[in-house]
Point group: C2
Chain length 304, copies 2
DNA sequence: GTGAAAGCGCTAACAA
DNA sequence: TTGTTAGCGCTTTCAC
């Protein structure tokens, strides 16, 4: 039971492969009588023809593949994983709906290998949570032309678009809720600059901010500052914090698309799907080569 | 700045493309002197050569692509999404480490289109949470030869391997913990047979089992049966249940790889990464055409 | 209206 | 030891 190719159809329908191609792709500048057209389409269906996209890409120089490349480190907490995975899931949905296929690949954050972009001739690429120092190497190695959007990373390169949460805005809103001074628990991004930014925006001393690595470390931090209100980024971390902190003392900036995991008394500031949506629309613009693309290379997504 | 091809290397190194191919692929039955070898490798590096995997697949008839196809319905809860995404993430890691590339695609559960398998010539396919009635159509449309593993689905077709949790075992363990009679909260799988199996294994009446659709429905169910101990499948649902039920009255069968989300007093039965691991190893066996593959088409994964 | 043929980048059998 | 060449399945120009 071999795969049927255009050649098979051509033979069966008594036409040339060229004609088959014309019909099956609805080529506009060719005028083909309805009966040949029908005959070809019928035999194609009968033979269960499905085009080989790799062969097509080879000549078209477009693969219809979108890459999502995620930097990962050993022993990531599930909170990190899940917020990344939510993003991936949303992006995948958008692109699948547009007829693209999505290639997912994790990168070693300390030694990312982005050959996949060239090997698979990806039409567009998302790069998630890159270390600034690694990005230098990446952008060097990177032959321009392929639309590349960097997510969750503050990097020095002015060449590429960067989609990030507007943490400044979110934190400002969060701080307003409890007028007293707060403590912060945030995610351990690979992109150190993101952490630094958040620290600056928080406006509190370094020892009032905990970068979440594991539950024990968190508990130690919370014990050092009892009875304080806490602002948490990522509701999965929030859920863990709520085991140890009075939920009503908690404000959570939701980045993992599951605010319902939190206790009812906890205040939420929700980003929902805004980041993936922004990244998707930007990518579609880049793919279509539009020229009305944003001037600012940083797209800052505001909470709802 | 065009992509370099083997032709470019051949020209630059004064050899034929064949020789370049031999050297770059370490073809064993060809004996090439070290200096030509070096010359070729050097120019390849200098020109920043990266092979085009699509072109290679075309002739090799192997793409190095693994498909993960996930059935999805509108408005899935995040608990469903996240347990699927954990699985996907783990599979992706395994295969990326083996040098495969992973294509992720969501399917409309009520009308799954699996053309992607043929279009992209996937070397192997995982199909997650399929409806039994849809599988008929899928397997018809499916030209044999491609290793296909079905996950989280009880389906009638004896042809394909099916990796599922051993819910019977897990539930037996869970029930033992609270000797009193329990109530159950379980996930709303697309595969109705999975739900039915779980109901049978639970050994309780239908109205003691709640299939989680949304939080309000859950709350209604829990209010109908106050002060009972509850067995939950999926720790993210467990975390939601723990808002309304005394955590020590709770036993959670963990399928989403984040048991730490649960209150400390809650009992856990954890599947960890055993499902993805089993699925991965099975796929590797199928890919290598080994003949010592399991006889039983159902792989039942037991909790740790 | 239709088809022959070149070629996308690569591999592998066969010559030389 | 190296090169020539025929494809893999498809698109597309150009001739008929």
């Amino acid at each position: 039971m071999k795969k049927t190719t255009m050649k098979d159809i051509a033979k069966a329908a008594n036409v040339s492969v060229a004609t088959v191609s014309y019909v099956l792709n609805n080529v506009s500048n060719q005028t083909i009588p309805d009966d040949t057209k029908c005959r070809i389409i019928e035999t194609a269906n009968k033979l269960n023809y499905i085009p080989d996209l790799a062969a097509r890409s080879l000549v078209k120089q477009k693969t219809g593949l979108i890459g999502i490349l995620v930097n990962r480190t050993e022993n990531e907490g599930f909170w990190r994983r899940h917020s990344n995975l939510e993003l991936i899931d949303q992006l995948e949905n958008y692109f699948t709906n547009k007829g693209y296929h999505v290639v997912l690949s994790s990168l070693d954050a300390t030694n990312p290998n982005i050959n996949i972009i060239a090997e698979r001739k990806l039409d567009g690429v998302f790069l998630i949570d890159v270390k600034n120092e690694q990005f230098h190497r990446i952008s060097n190695q990177f032959k321009a032309g392929v639309p590349l959007i960097v997510i969750d990373s503050f990097i020095d390169d002015p060449l590429f678009y960067k989609v990030v949460y507007d943490y400044e805005d979110a934190i400002t809103k969060a701080v307003k809720i409890h007028s007293q001074d707060c403590h912060f628990v945030i995610e351990a991004f690979n992109n150190q600059e993101t952490i630094e930014k958040i620290k600056v925006f928080s406006g509190v001393a370094d020892n009032s901010i905990h970068v979440m690595e594991h539950e024990q470390g968190l508990v130690r931090f919370l014990n050092q500052h009892p009875n304080k209100s806490v602002i948490v980024i990522n509701e999965l971390i929030g859920a863990i914090v709520s085991k140890y902190v009075n939920p009503s003392q908690l404000v959570v900036i939701c980045t993992a698309n599951c605010p319902a995991i939190l206790p009812v008394q906890t205040t939420r500031i929700d980003f929902g799907e805004l980041k993936s949506s922004a990244a998707f629309h930007l990518m579609m613009q880049l793919l279509s080569g539009q020229r009305d693309i944003p001037h600012d290379k940083y797209i800052r997504v505001k909470a709802e």
